[in-house]
Each structure stands twice: as C-alpha cells, then as structure tokens.
Symmetry: C2
Subunit: 151 residues, 2 copies
C-alpha cells in the first residue's frame, strides 16, 4: 500500500477504534502496517516472524482478535485450518485469492469491475433461487503459483 493512501487508511482505522472506545496503540499499528504491506492474508505465525517477535504471541493473538472484532481485519482459514488475517475490504477494496496447493501461499488478486459485476449478478441469481440473502462472496482460485511451477 502506498504511503499517502496508507496514512489515510490508518486515520480511518484510528477513528473507527475510537468510536468503540478503543485505542490505536503501537502494537495495533504495527499489525495493521504489516498486513498493509503483505501480498495476501497472513497467519499468526507469519506475522510473528514479520514483526521479528516484537510482540509476544499472547499479545499478537489478542491484538488480532480485537482488530477483527472491530472489523478492521478479516479472518479466514487456510487449507490446514490455521487462521489468516488481512485488512478488511473497506480498507483494501474487494478482491479474491490465488491459493497455491503446493506451498500454501495465498495471494490477493483483483478483478476488473466489469467482470466483478458479472459475478455479482450471478451470485445474486444463485442465492435468490435458494431463498438465501447474499451479502458477499469469496472466490478462491486453487492451483500452482508461479514460483512452484518453476520447480
């Protein structure tokens, strides 16, 4: 994420937290920045490494839980069942994931607005047919990433 953009995002995060009586502490800022710089959702272990153990695991876990509850972060689970976190879509924009079945890496991809419109329409149609009220969708493309293909 570029810095001007990142500053605005952090400002927005600070305000959102303040509204809930929470503070945007150094630890939380560290986590938000690490995730803003990541190419895809990170596990708690990834973050612990990325932050060079600057926050103890117990604090990191709590920070992630708090930020996810405040909707600053989104949490999902990878193929092994371990949690991965990324900035919520209101901060990053809507996107999907390329999931490498060999190395386990998950990378963000955006889709052009027109295609995304097509998808949204068919999601509505499918959901409606089942009496389901759709509020969002998630697409994971599974396969082999560029790095693993070379090997």
């Amino acid at each position: 994420m570029k810095t001007a953009q990142a500053d605005r995002a952090e400002q927005a995060v600070a305000e959102l937290l303040a509204d809930e009586g929470l503070r945007f502490t150094p630890a939380r800022r560290l986590v938000v920045r690490a995730l803003a710089d990541a190419p895809g959702p990170l596990t708690t272990g990834d973050l612990h490494t990325a932050l060079r153990s600057r926050l103890p695991l117990s604090s990191l876990y709590r920070t992630l839980t708090v930020l996810a509850a405040a909707r600053v972060l989104a949490r999902e689970h990878d193929g092994g069942g371990v949690a991965r976190y990324e900035l919520a879509e209101w901060l990053t924009g809507h996107h999907h994931h390329l999931v490498c079945l060999v190395c386990g890496e998950v990378r963000d991809v955006s889709i052009d607005p027109q295609t995304e419109g097509t998808i949204a329409a068919l999601v509505e149609r499918i959901a409606g047919g089942a009496g389901f009220e759709a509020t969002g969708h998630r697409i994971d493309i599974e396969g082999k990433c560029a790095a693993c293909r070379r090997r």
Copy 2:
C-alpha cells in the same frame, strides 16, 4: 443422493480404496453414506451426532483422515476454523457453497453449466495474468440462509 446412483458411487469408492490397498469397512461405509445424505459439508461433531456415536471419536477422526487422503472426501474449514468434510467432487459433481453467517450452516448449490463455463473462463484469465496455474476454484456465497431470514 439416490440409491442407484449411491450404489455406483460406493462401488467406485470401494475400487479406489482397493487400489491403494485399503478396505471399504463398515465404519468407512457409514461415513460415506452419512455424507452422501447431507445437504452440505459436515463437521466431525455433526457426523458424530448423525451417526449417533456409533463410531468413537478417535475412529471417526482417523476414518475421515484416511478417506480424505485417498481423495474420497474433500476437507475444508468453516468460519470458526473447524474442519468440514464432504464427498469429493468426482463423486458429487462440481458445486459451490451458501454460507450462513448467522447460524453457520453451509449448503451446496450447483450452477448451470453455461454459467459455470463463464466462471471457468474468467478464472483462467485471472490466474494466467498472475502466472498462476489454476486447477480448480471455490466460490462461497455468504449471507443469511432462508431459515435465519424468517427469524
């Protein structure tokens, strides 16, 4: 799943297992049948209940692991991070999921072949643009299920 179809499916499962030197035992048959009758992927707990505790948890877990390794079952993880199992797509056909964010239920949905073709094409395009070799995709439609909407 209808019975004639189910019989053929079980036959295919038995052969696949035999090829790997494994047996299609009563416990495994029980699990495959329970999943064939389910409207969507089940957690280990769901299965334990559905089978009225007829297999002890340790056996159930091992059975699921073995069947997934043999590609009879597919394993995924729900929003809470707990594992869910369903019959592999070569047995059920390709499909996607409606995920209720209120009650957590996951239900299968199929998409008409034409729409699925459209999706496959755009998945290829997106993946190709990132040097990624796509072998499959998964779409989760998130929202509120019919039952939860009524409440």
